[in-house]
Amino acid sequence: MRKTWTATLALALPLALAACGGSAPAGTSNGGGGQSGGTIKIGSLHPLSGSSAADGQQMDNGAKLAVEAINNAGGIKSQGGKKLELVSADTQGKPEVGQSEAQRLIQEGAVGLLGTYQSAVSANVSTVAERNKVPFVIDVSSADSILAQGYKYTFRVQPSSTVLGTSGAQFLDQVAKAAGKPVKQVAVLHEQGPFGTAVRDAFKAEAAKAGIKVEPAIAYDAASVSDLTTQVTQVKASGADVLMVAGYYRDGVLAAKAVDTIKPTLNAVYGVANGAFDLPQFPKEVGAPAEGYFDANYHADMTKPDMQALAKLYTERYNDQIRTGAVLAYDSVQVIAAALEKAGSADATKVRDAIASGEVPTLIAGPGTIKFGPTGENVNATPILMQVQGGAPKQVFPADKAEAQPVYPAFKSQ
């Protein structure tokens, strides 16, 4: 019995070590780097393990590619060509872990932070950044409340929930009117957290201006929901002609499966900042029923040659398709690097001022460059409209960003 025990332990131990290595590469790789005077450190805080690990790893990879691109182009020239060094930390998607990891990265000498995907984590990290006077650039986290604190050291590249909800309603109204079938009633299915609620409120307010009735608005818990057929049946019973869904990946897929099962009479299923409907694996997982799904979301601009090159590089390097989160992380590193260049110093306060007054080109589809307003919001952050066509998400609206024409009503037979 003791023999088997030892043998199993021998088998299990390497596995356990491998697992640790997988979840905390940051801690092991930067342990000895505290004293390296030749580089400027930037901290990347993302959920590398836990339920958002796929997105977190994408974003960390995006940040790595940005640092690599800047170093290959000669580093920070105003500071004698100093190279950047990315120090990655795993937030595990937990606010308290993100907070302590942010503190650790700052103590290790990071002059700027980027992250973190979850709004709750970003809120805690922004407090740490403010206290330590180190600039924090949010790549993904949409809750409005983060930048409503009057913080001076926090900036956001992606659009806020309010911008997403408002633009989402405008796009829907315009696309439907252009097709000659104005929307009468929208049913909303949204995750119950700050993100879903803020998107719902902004969407509802803007839709009301266009004379669209928003009813019912049904909330669900994204973390533990296992089925949405009951909710979609409620939508069917309400007689709405469009279903708006604001949520994440897994629940987005559940919603699509439920719509396929219940078959409500809809002209369109319309995501606003939906974490599923504009991802390439969504049509793969849901299959043919995914055809025609809209998503009004911030998105990488695939019409830009630089973006196409980055997407190609990402696929070669990581054997995966790049997501918009990774592009936002890439842009966020560019924001910090441009500020380092402009400030001519690695002093965190000077870097902060340079970020606040700077202007940086972006790979995200939008009206212009990344430029921050007085509250730290990117004034040019806006979503675009995507639609699944021919088994892949395509940019369809506004016209100058369109790869294809929007199809509305999105479903033929219903």
Partner: protein, 344 residues
């Protein structure tokens, strides 16, 4: 292994006419009958809950859909919880790794379907594979902790779950995966609609629950398992090799998680953390049904499935876990020993 010839004596320790594995159970001849009164009360409460939901929703179809969905998902919860409750009843181990075993089975099923196997044929591989893993884990890792304080085993199983989850993340990455069931379509039931894959998962869960019940009640192995659950020292004295029974029982429990994993594969998004979604619910179901009670686990699963769906109508916008825990707290308050376990 040899079993006690005095099987009738062991069987007398089995109370309530259901396959309880309660180690604290006292032999009570009168309790061999099915607890009809309790079943009627539970059924009546469910009917009242559905009736109130009709009043609240004002739409028959929505409630019918909620009930159908709740029962179908409840069957799967029951299957997951049966494995957990079996392990608790016989080994006295609170198995935190149960959800991870389910996740492992999900990935195994994904791999097998990628290799061209039909998803339900994958059961023929995933169940034995998970059984084998269960034997290895019990004999290799948990055997040394048997009889030690509860927290020792608890921490070991927690560790196993972390290892499995992170190993899956390491080898497969965090990208969501899915298993498609060809020919999956909506099936109308009394005005509501349910996916064929959900109905098949439910029927599969019921079938496996029936097999497990027969195994425990009608076979020598099942009698031995129940004997060990009732009194392991006593079982040893009559010649039952408890080490074998421990390993086999743990393996049966793991195989339940394996079967559940394969059955739900077409319904869920497959990620390393998918198992933990089922874990919380399974623990609630186990305590609700009475720790160590296999039939209680199935009934508890159905109740929790219904509570989750009807709760969405009563309390729109709240986590499905809220209504689950409201039911849970009420049951603990009124019947601390669980629905189908007599007080010690």
């Amino acid at each position: 292994m040899t079993f006690s010839p005095d099987q009738d004596h062991v069987a007398a320790g089995n109370g309530g006419g259901v396959a309880t594995l309660d180690p604290d159970e006292l032999p009570a001849p009168a309790a061999r009958s099915v607890p009809w009164l309790r079943i009627v009360v539970i059924a009546a409460l469910i009917v009242v809950a559905i009736g109130l939901a009709y009043l609240r929703a004002g739409s028959g179809v929505v409630v019918t859909q909620a009930v159908v969905t709740g029962i179908l998902i409840g069957g799967v919860y029951g299957l997951v919880a049966m494995g957990l409750t079996l392990i608790f009843g016989v080994l006295d181990i609170v198995n935190f790794a149960h959800g991870s075993f389910l996740a492992l089975a999900l990935f195994l099923t994904f791999g097998l379907t990628q290799a061209g196997l039909h998803v339900y044929l994958a059961l023929a591989i995933s169940v034995p594979a998970m059984f084998l893993l269960g034997v290895l884990v019990q004999r290799g890792i948990l055997a040394g902790a048997m009889g030690k304080p509860l927290e020792n085993q608890l921490l070991i199983t927690l560790g196993i779950s972390l290892i499995i989850e992170n190993a899956l993340l390491l080898f497969f990455g965090g990208n969501p995966r899915s298993v498609a069931l060809s020919g999956d379509r909506g099936v109308p039931i009394l005005g509501a609609v349910a996916n064929l894959s959900r109905i098949l998962a439910f029927l599969g869960a019921l079938l496996l629950a029936g097999l497990l019940y027969l195994l425990l009640q009608r076979t020598r192995l099942g009698t031995a398992i129940r004997a060990v659950a009732a009194n392991d020292t006593g079982a040893q004295l009559v010649g039952i090799d408890t080490r074998v029974i421990y390993a086999v029982t743990f393996a049966i429990g793991t195989a339940c998680a394996g079967a559940a994993g394969t059955l739900v594969a077409p319904l869920v998004t497959i990620e390393p953390t998918t198992g933990s979604l089922f874990n919380i619910v399974a623990f609630v179901v186990v305590v609700l049904g009475g720790m160590g009670n296999v039939v209680g686990a199935l009934v508890g699963g159905l109740i929790i499935g219904l509570a989750e769906q009807l709760g969405g109508i009563y309390l729109p916008g709240q986590s499905p876990l809220l209504s689950v825990f409201i039911v849970f707290v009420l049951v603990l308050f009124l019947r601390p020993q669980g629905l189908f376990r007599r007080s010690a």
